[in-house]
């Protein structure tokens, strides 16, 4: 999606009919979901869906006053996630019955069309039970390069980024900051490849 596309959709939704609203909020839902999930690791799907729905409600309430829709959506989402962390979360209600009706339609539309109509691929581990997911991940990690395993291990041990960088620089003396980002990105790609290979080997993916 081009930068302007989202803004165009937003402008249409602002002045258009329910159809435009549905379309815009479907896009917003797809973009906001990973952000909410990222901020709410350890929370259940229902909690995450609550936060996304509330972000949509909050957004719709102020849609005519919003100038920067991306920033605004991210901010509401973060605030709602923070409320969840603080356990002060209250589901916000629509302002009036017209809003309530609009929101119902939007949410029904999103739940019917979901990600599929937007073409978002599922997780590479979708459809595998949690126990097997863990086995595949562990095996895949073991087959990564020393650097990638070290990086993952340090991350799992809650080491801060600059400390990880310092340790990895000891391991690879000519490692620069730019290299570091590129290498990490490559680790991720390698991990995906390894997971795919494991899945094939386990006969999960034909």
């Amino acid at each position: 999606m081009q930068e302007t596309e989202f803004v165009e959709l937003f402008k249409k939704a602002k002045n258009g009919d329910q159809k435009d609203l549905n379309k815009f909020f479907q896009v917003l839902y797809v973009r906001i979901r990973p952000i909410a999930r990222h901020n709410l690791y350890g929370y259940g799907v229902e909690d995450i869906e609550d936060v996304i729905q509330d972000t949509i409600v909050g957004f719709l309430k102020k849609i005519h006053r919003i100038k920067d829709p991306k920033n605004y959506a991210i901010t509401i989402c973060h605030n709602k996630c923070n409320e969840k962390h603080r356990k002060k979360y209250r589901k916000s209600a629509p302002v009036n019955s017209i809003d309530a009706q609009k929101i119902d339609e939007i949410l029904t539309y999103i739940s019917n069309t979901g990600n599929i109509s937007y073409g978002i691929e599922d997780s590479i581990l979708a459809g595998i039970d949690r126990k097997n997911q863990l086995v595949i991940i562990k095996e895949s990690l073991k087959h990564l390069s020393d650097y990638c395993r070290e990086f993952t291990l340090l991350t799992l041990k809650n080491t801060e980024l600059k400390e990880i960088l310092a340790i990895l620089k000891n391991m690879i003396p000519n490692l620069t900051d730019t290299n570091f980002y590129t290498r990490n990105h490559r680790c991720r790609e390698d991990l995906i490849t390894e997971i795919r290979n494991r899945k094939k080997m386990e006969g999960i993916l034909s």
């Binding site: 350890g42 962390h85 073991k142 801060e160």
Partner: protein, 272 residues
């Protein structure tokens, strides 16, 4: 879309997923997700993997470490770094960072609270840090015996002085000050008038007036009277938080100050 719209930001994807980037970088990446279908798809692709990495941390660590003991060598560095980290202020309290991010209002309230606290506490700290020496002072009257003048009639200055000293002996120092001032004005050469005026100020705990009166008198005076003046002047300096000015006076008294030597020595010890 098969390519990331902004590779520089796109490279942050793994760090974002592992929650390793700063708040600013995180926001940048999240904004990027609105523009880049490729990264969005990638994020969705890794959802379950990242969930597992977060929720089954311990198991994965054990698996990685048991499989490859070489990695343990480097984890020693982590332990060392973490021990070092314990001595720095912010990482000691990792929760505070979370709270800081969770409660954005803190960013507004905290500086205000700190400024108010500083305004309230600084004067207190300032006062405490400068030791209060005034508790060592003795507000003791300088003795006086009225003299009976025979022969020449008393001057006006003497009359004011005599009246003033009557109040002085009755410990009505405010009244004595008024009269002694007049006496000292009429006969500035008589150090006795100035001395008792200064002492009256001192006994009223008006150290600054005592200092101005006695310090003007000191260079003109010799003998016992000089040490009397020095003694009261030194005490007035201490009462006025001017310890440094009092010390040379006390030292001078200790050397030649007769009856005040012991007192001055004790006071100087307390000041040290």
């Amino acid at each position: 879309m098969n390519k990331c719209a902004n590779i520089e930001i796109g490279k942050l994807i793994f760090l974002y997923e592992l929650d390793l980037i700063s708040k600013n970088a995180r926001k940048k990446f999240e904004l990027h997700l609105f523009e880049c279908d490729y990264c969005l798809k990638e994020i969705y692709k890794m959802t379950e993997v990242i969930n597992q990495l977060h929720s089954s941390k311990e198991e994965i660590i054990i698996a990685l470490e048991s499989e490859n003991p070489d990695l343990n060598l480097d984890t020693e560095q982590v332990i060392q770094l973490k021990q070092k980290r314990r001595f720095s202020l912010i990482p000691v309290l990792p929760k505070t960072r979370d709270i800081w991010h969770m409660y954005p209002k803190f960013k507004l309230i905290l500086p205000i609270v700190l400024v108010v606290l500083a305004l309230v506490l600084l004067p207190l700290i300032h006062n405490k840090s400068e030791k209060d020496y005034s508790k060592y002072l003795e507000f003791e009257k300088l003795s006086y015996s009225p003299e009976i003048f025979r022969g020449a009639p008393a001057t006006q200055a003497q009359e004011f002085f005599n009246q003033g000293m009557k109040y002085y002996l009755e410990e009505d120092y405010s009244a004595s000050i008024e009269l002694l001032k007049k006496a000292a004005l009429l006969d500035s050469a008589n150090s006795e008038y100035g001395l008792y005026l200064g002492v009256s100020f001192y006994l009223l705990k008006d150290c600054s007036n005592c200092i101005s009166t006695l310090s003007a008198l000191l260079p003109k005076t010799r003998g016992v009277r000089r040490f009397q003046i020095s003694w009261y002047l030194a005490q007035a300096y201490i009462g006025n938080d001017q310890k440094e000015a009092a010390i040379p006076l006390l030292q001078e008294i200790i050397v030649n100050g007769y009856e005040y030597s012991n007192k001055a020595k004790k006071l100087l010890n307390k000041l040290d």
